[in-house]
Amino acid sequence: MNDENRIPAHRDLPPGRLQLRKEHVVREVTTWDRASRQRRRRLALVLVPAVLAALAVTGFTTYALTREPTHLESVGCFETAELDGNIAIVNADGRDPTAICAELWRRGDVGPGAAPESLAACVLETGAVGVFPSSNEDTCEELGLVDLPPTYATEAERFAALRDAIAEELGASYGSSERDPKCLREEEARALVRRELAARGYEDWSIEVIGGGFTEGPCAAVGLGFDGEQEVVFLVPEPDE
């Protein structure tokens, strides 16, 4: 091999740097794990974005007879078969709501007791989906509610696909899925969301920017929220870390 194309020999990291780097990396992963455990616990309790939490909670606290679920973005897991009991609100992900809540029960995120043997999914007044511990087939009726209609599964899957597509386009982490954030200008973010809404039959939905707005720089990482009742996609510009 001629000298020009010689590959330089291996070198050690500069003196002291191996130890410094090692300590740094170990410290970082330890911190991540701690933060991750705390985040999982917190998100399990209210997985909807903070800016939408109040709206979502309101959606789960009143009731009357409604036939069709309209809030496809979240599911409320009730601790007891009562409408004023504790609720863990989580993002819907296209699965059967009883499966979502069963997983939360298993993790101890709904209540301290053992997971119920069976769960019933009902439609609340606001169109939100509530899942209750169930001892018979009439749980929803006994609560003055109706069972989840068979069309829910298709609609929930369709909505989850829309949400995932928008999150992918924006590089927005949503629920348990993490993505690489993109720095977007407001008009870019709006155009991307508009395109996905149109492509998936959600033309009537509107787009609103909430939070601090795109004020801190030419572009921003964007968080997401949805309100199925009002048919709104919320864009939440996130301040840089």
Binding site: E4, R6, I7, L13, P14, E28
Partner: protein, 190 residues
Amino acid sequence: MEQANDADLWRRAVDGERDAFGVLFERHARAVYNYLFRRTADWALAEDLTSVVFLEAWRRRTDVRLERDLVLPWLLGVATNVLRNRRRSQWRHRAALERLPRDHALDFADDAIGRLDDERQMRTVLRAIGKLPRREQDVLALCAWAELSYEEAAVALGVPVGTVRSRLSRGRARIRKLSSAQGHEPAVPA
């Protein structure tokens, strides 16, 4: 713990033993660092990216597939992906990198000239190798520069062993052709 094999250390690290992850870092950081230097021709960048590789390895720890209980091939695979998506990887771990204490007293004044020579030399090599398709560059770097076996390179890249062999063969042939056209010997041993 220093005597434990990689697989055992990795299992213990994933179970939360931070010392085990530290031992893996000490064991493999040098190889990762040199691999990254040979791909970037920049010692300082290689050092930062070494941290990124281990942070990224931790993030993806449940994806680990060890070849003969060795972590290094998988780490070099992570390093190859970090290089391919350098901006994204550095963005993801930027906060962690910013928290790294910067002690300039530790800078390598003694061999600064040698390292500058290395960088100049490596840039020349990379200019030649850069004419190859990216996939062939990856295989050449892993097999010829990092001295992985075909099987280990296959693990690193997540491709079948046959694909490694064919890419390496094509890459070497292309290098020979390019080098002879320029009147040089090849940068990668045939």
